[in-house]
């Protein structure tokens, strides 16, 4: 008979990469736009003008953070929509022009909001190149340039990965693409364009689109202490998008639908706040994160870090606990008040393990046992200490009931074809690969 150890409960939220709590100052900025200033910005009367002015002020404020023009900002319903609009919008506009082509470059570790649109585009006749990553999850600018062809219209590489926190060299890729265009007689506003999904990076890294040399950039409110259900897409002036939502013609006819005024006000305020104490908060979070990793390694044998040891988001820690399954660990931690996330197949709808961890060349077992802890504004040292108190006995307990014993040096190829799912064949989702 096994029993959960008797330990205190404490609410510790360590899943800020999934979503953040909305900052009360953001809520305050939103509230007037529900009941008082509720007008539809498209109208001509004063209530509408006031709503329209508010949206314009939000657009100006976001543009100043991105170092771009206000009319280069398109408001959307969130990161997923912005990514979809970037991919489909460029592909369906430029892909049908015989002057350009139907080739898109992306990476193996993109968010599903980028990867699944490329699956759809494949069915529409597009050719997709997925660039691999190194053992730390880094995309190389050189590999991107090597993959560009005359018919390439879009390169989409995320700014920082949501699972492992690895930061990609976007500015370097951006400059290299511009150089490629010069060498191939392309104007700056000719394809290929560079899109980056900055949902995870926005509150933490500089999102100056000039410094980054990006043409499209995805933002999301709910990862930077703003509201859910709102995002933005920066699109460099002169680049055309095929609208994916048509109707009333809002957002320069690119994205129809009545503007979500309170959420837009919240997004602008959240982005503004994120800029003010970015440096000091980054330092605080990376120190806490390093403290957690250092002590977790000391207290628990057989942990493997996922992602880059230093070139990663300051709030992200992702590691694999060998021989245990991530979802079981997650549910036990939840019992003690701790929220985190896992790359285990058991928590994905497809029952496939994390594509990001596999892309780094790690065995499937490593993905199943991976846990992600993402710290945030509310995270304190006491929170981390609570996790360090609870995690070792939970791991010990799950290891005591586990029949397997893996080595930390295990490579993907060692295991790839060895196991069986139920009988003696290969795992069902690897069959005949």
């Amino acid at each position: 008979m096994i029993k959960l150890p008797e330990l205190p409960r404490r609410t510790v939220y360590l899943d800020n990469a999934a979503t953040t709590a909305t900052d009360p100052r953001v809520v305050e900025a939103m509230l007037p736009y529900f009941t008082e200033n509720f007008g539809n910005p498209s109208g001509l009367y004063s209530a509408s003008r006031s709503a329209s002015d508010a949206v314009q002020s939000a657009r100006d404020s976001i543009a100043s953070v991105l170092h771009c023009r206000a009319d280069e900002i398109i408001f959307t319903s969130g990161g997923t929509e912005s990514d979809n609009l970037a991919l489909f919008g460029i592909a369906r506009k430029y892909g049908n022009n015989p002057k350009w082509g139907k080739h898109i470059i992306t990476s193996q570790i993109e968010h599903h909001a980028v990867l699944l649109p490329t699956e759809v585009l494949k069915k529409e006749g597009f050719d997709i190149t997925e660039i691999g990553v190194n053992e730390h999850g880094e995309v190389s600018a050189h590999a991107v340039i090597a993959a560009i062809r005359p018919e390439t219209i879009l390169v989409s590489i995320m700014y920082a990965n949501n699972e492992i926190g690895t930061i990609e060299p976007i500015a370097e890729i951006g400059k290299a693409i511009r150089q490629w265009k010069k060498e191939h007689d392309r104007k700056p506003l000719d394809p290929p364009f560079l899109h980056t999904d900055a949902c995870q990076a926005a509150g933490v890294l500089s999102i100056d689109v000039q410094e980054l040399s990006v043409d499209l950039l995805t933002l999301n409110g709910s990862k930077l202490y703003g509201p859910k259900g709102v995002g933005a897409l920066f699109v460099r002036r002169g680049i055309q998008l095929q609208p994916q939502l048509v109707g009333g013609g809002q957002e320069n006819r690119i994205r129809s639908g009545t503007e979500n005024v309170p959420a837009i006000m919240g997004l602008a305020r959240a982005l503004e706040l994120a800029q003010t104490d970015r440096e000091s908060e980054n330092t605080r979070l990376s120190e806490l994160r390093n403290y957690l990793w250092e002590h977790a390694q000391r207290l628990i044998p057989k942990l493997v870090l996922n992602g880059h040891p230093t070139n990663r988001l300051p709030n992200n820690l992702n590691f694999t606990i060998l021989d245990i399954e991530g979802e079981a660990a997650l549910l036990y931690l939840d019992e003690y008040g701790i929220s985190c996330s896992t790359g285990s197949a058991c928590t994905s709808t497809s029952l496939d393990p994390s594509h990001v961890i596999l892309a780094m060349g790690k065995p499937y077992e490593f993905a199943h046992g991976s846990l992600r802890f993402t710290l945030g504004h509310s995270t304190t040292k006491e929170d981390i200490d609570h996790l360090l108190l609870v995690l070792p006995p939970v791991v010990e307990l799950l290891r005591s009931i586990s029949p397997i014993n893996l080595s930390v040096d295990q490579k993907q190829e060692d295991i790839a074809l060895r196991g069986a799912f139920v009988e003696d064949g290969v795992p069902h989702w690897m069959a005949n690969k």
Partner: protein, 230 residues
């Protein structure tokens, strides 16, 4: 069946707090019943120490760590009555794998233990019923418990010279070009695939032999009916 959660009881306000799993990418919720939680947090009949010689008569192992599920079951049979005298297990698996195997071990050993003939008739649906339901996609975890048990029982029959009683569930190749078996299709359906396209997506392959399509579609219907009654 479009609903992802079958026969799940509402999360109650017991002494255990709610432990629903939410997928970060899709926001999809998996709710576990109170009984599932009880068996997950206090699994019964775990093997925590190396078994002593003679403590068990046979062992069955299925799954692989690459798939995220390994199930290991040990059994002791009373030769006079042919009843399961003891059953212990270990797993590398998720919440529902732990809970389903714990419940399975209780069902096999309760009331003096089932006879071998009775025990091998316990179906995944029976386990799910006793658990108060499992999320659809996680049914394969309970299938793993009865598969490991079946293997242990076969090993017992081999060890005791009762070879005629061994029942091997053979896989039949349906698509000869890609070597897809009826087992593969069963797995795909258990994980929620409901038509040919979804099965292909689960198996990450197309169809190699076009002549196999009617056969595959018939198997999809068969397993849908078997597991979901639709």
């Amino acid at each position: 069946m479009s609903d992802d959660i079958i026969a799940v009881k509402p999360v109650t306000t017991g002494d255990m707090q709610k432990s629903d799993v939410v997928n970060a990418h899709t926001g999809q919720k998996w709710a576990y019943s109170q009984i599932v939680k009880e068996h997950f947090f206090n699994p019964k009949n775990l093997l925590l120490e190396e078994p002593a010689p003679g403590q068990f008569d046979a062992r069955g192992t299925v799954g692989s760590p690459a798939c995220g599920d390994v199930m290991d079951i040990w059994i002791k049979v009373d030769p006079a009555t042919n009843r399961i005298a003891d059953l212990k297990w270990k797993t590398f698996g998720c919440g529902s794998a732990i809970a389903a195997t714990s419940m399975f071990s209780v069902m096999i050993t309760e009331d003096g233990g089932r006879t071998l003939d009775e025990a091998v008739t316990v179906k995944p649906q029976d386990i799910m019923e006793r658990l108060g339901g499992l999320p659809n996609r996680k049914i394969h975890c309970s299938v793993l418990a009865d598969k490991a048990f079946r293997k242990a029982v076969n090993n017992y029959y081999h060890a005791t010279g009762q070879h005629d009683k061994v029942e091997v569930e053979g896989a039949r190749v349906v698509d000869t070009r890609l070597n897809i078996t009826d087992k593969d299709i069963e797995e795909a359906v258990l994980e929620g695939a409901t038509n040919l396209e979804e099965v292909q997506k689960k198996l990450k392959v197309g169809v190699g032999d076009p002549e196999a399509i009617p056969d595959i579609e018939q198997l999809i219907r068969f397993y849908k009916e078997k597991y979901y009654g639709v």
